[in-house]
Amino acid sequence: MSAVATPRATKSERWRIERAPTQPLWLTILSPVILVALALIVGAGLLSLTGSDPWLVYRRMAQLAFGSAYGWSDTTVKATPLILAGLGVSIAFRMRLWNIGAEGQLFLGAFMATGVALHWLPRDTPQPLMLLAMAAAGFVGGALWGLIPGLLKAKLNVNEIITTLMLNYVAIQWNNFFVYGPWSERGFGLSPQFPRNAWLPRLTDFAADFPFLRGLTAHFGILIAVALAVVLWVVWRSTRWGFEVSVVGDNPRAARYAGINLTRNIILVMALSGGLAGLAGMSEVSGVVHRLQERFSPGYGFTAIIVAWLAKLNPLAIILVSYLFAGLLVGGDAIQPAGIAQLLQGVILFVVVSGDMILRYRVRRV
């Protein structure tokens, strides 16, 4: 046991495993690719354990997700909330705040957007105004849901991992109350459909002018998501606040000595983080489901955590990784048994977190 536990055996001092001071550029770029490939191999092992042919499963999944215009459109639909929520959690992670509550924040965002679309604004509100109000409400809903754990963390040092996670369950029950109670359509777990002016435009809506777009359901939300990723990329690269956040994440004590206000930043970051996840919820009800319903998210908020981590919190990488995972979801939807997509996500995260460490070390002769 101890031989496993101590990577550097002290008896034979000829070889040492140690942390490499720098990582070559090719390894930085290539390592996610290597790690995902490795994860797929491990996943293949587990799949054959469950009695399915991994090669067939993978080929089927890839074909469904990326094999046609429809596939790409479906994948884009699922990538949209992943990018938005992934950007959200990445903001918090950058400050080493573990916001595991994106799922709940997404539900609250969807809830607020639904309130605007169905109840709080007149039904004949012009579409741009309606969508803008829904987006703002969605952001606020998610932000409030992130603010609660943020305040508790900043003021009382309450562990944010558990509070954000618990608030997920609360948000889902909150949503259930409304779709089965006051906002329900005849007691089913869904609200009435939104008026057309509360729908984010989809590709298929332009089929009258461009017939080849017929049936493609990718919606306007992807443009917002990509634009926000670029904005965030700029913020991290070239603003003072972006720099502050990473300083706090790397070394809170140094940040305090440098005069950075920790309390304010924790609260702000958690609210922003939740707000983006809330926007993901708005984009989902307005662009895809067109109503609020029970379990409209297949765990986007949780997948977003893996996405953000795999992308190393880089906003542009989050777009790419979101597409990969969206493909996994599109493919996973169509194959049995259910749960394979979730399993593969877990395996990828595991391989990435451990592989990352392995790649950071080198073997050296002493």
Binding site: M1, S2, V4, A5, T6, P7, R8, L46, T50, W98, I100, L152, L156, N157, V158, N159, I161, I162, T163, L165, M166, L167, Y169, V170, Q173, W174, N176, F177, Y180, G181, P182, S184, F302, I305, I306, W309, P337, A338, G339, I340, A341, Q342, L343, L344, Q345, G346, V347, L349, F350, V353, S354, D356, M357, I358
Partner: protein, 316 residues
Amino acid sequence: MEWVLLVNLLASGVRSGTAILFASIGEIFAERSGVLNLGVEGMMLMGAMTAFGVAHNTGNPWLGLLAAAGVGTVLALLHAFVTVTLRADQVVSGLALTFVGSGLSAVLGAPLVEIRQAPRLPTYPIPLLADLPVLGPILFNHNVIVYLGFLLIPAAWFYIYRTRPGLELRAVGEYPAAADVQGINVFALRYAYVMVGGFLAGVGGAALSLAITPLWIEGMTSGQGWIAVGLVIFARWNPVQAAVGSYLFGAIRRLPLDLQTLPLFLRNPAWGYFLNMLPYLFTVIVLVIGSREAMRRRAGAPAALGLPYVREERGA
């Protein structure tokens, strides 16, 4: 009349809190050694699924319990390897473990969902004690797994606070460098206690599927693994306080079922969803209380919790 209701509530609280009890005491062992394992939910799910499947296929619930403990241990070993040997981030590895556990249990357990009945662990009223008024039904008329939980509480407490290995466990979690100097094998102990945590989380899962809600449904823990992790903080890493918390949570989990029959909720069934929030809201409240206490008494988490131990580097 109210007495009967209260006694019933407490009795079912003790029963349904048992799963959280095993999981949270397991997590106390892991965290005391300095390793945070957020994979409890995943290990419990795998434990529940394995226990149910093995009990169904062999006809022996005890084999199911054993298998669940084994599966939990193996999953925890994975976490130990990634965090202790590879020194990867404990939070991320734990999250990954939960994803893997939830996904794998859903995939492997898919055929088990159809099965309504599997052999359960036996219920055994303790002679004489079970006939006591009030205390009898609350404490002494239960499933065997509940009694095992009773035994675990003082045993864990005694081990941690009153034995030599318990002292070493705490040393490894508080100040691993000092423990290392004393000749304690920090790496081996961390491996061992993370695995103890997995073992107990597996048993907690088995308690669910073999006794408390004897069937298998995908995601049947519904956050109990996370509640267990939260309870550890509230309990300030003390098994006795964790037990109190677990049984309280068991009662709160049962509360919605009992309150649903009140006229108010019969008239507005959707309000029941607010009742379902109770255990989760309560976890948040309990965490706030725990954190305030920790700040006031300056007695918080094990000092080295979450930090990988590296021999050549300075500091804890």
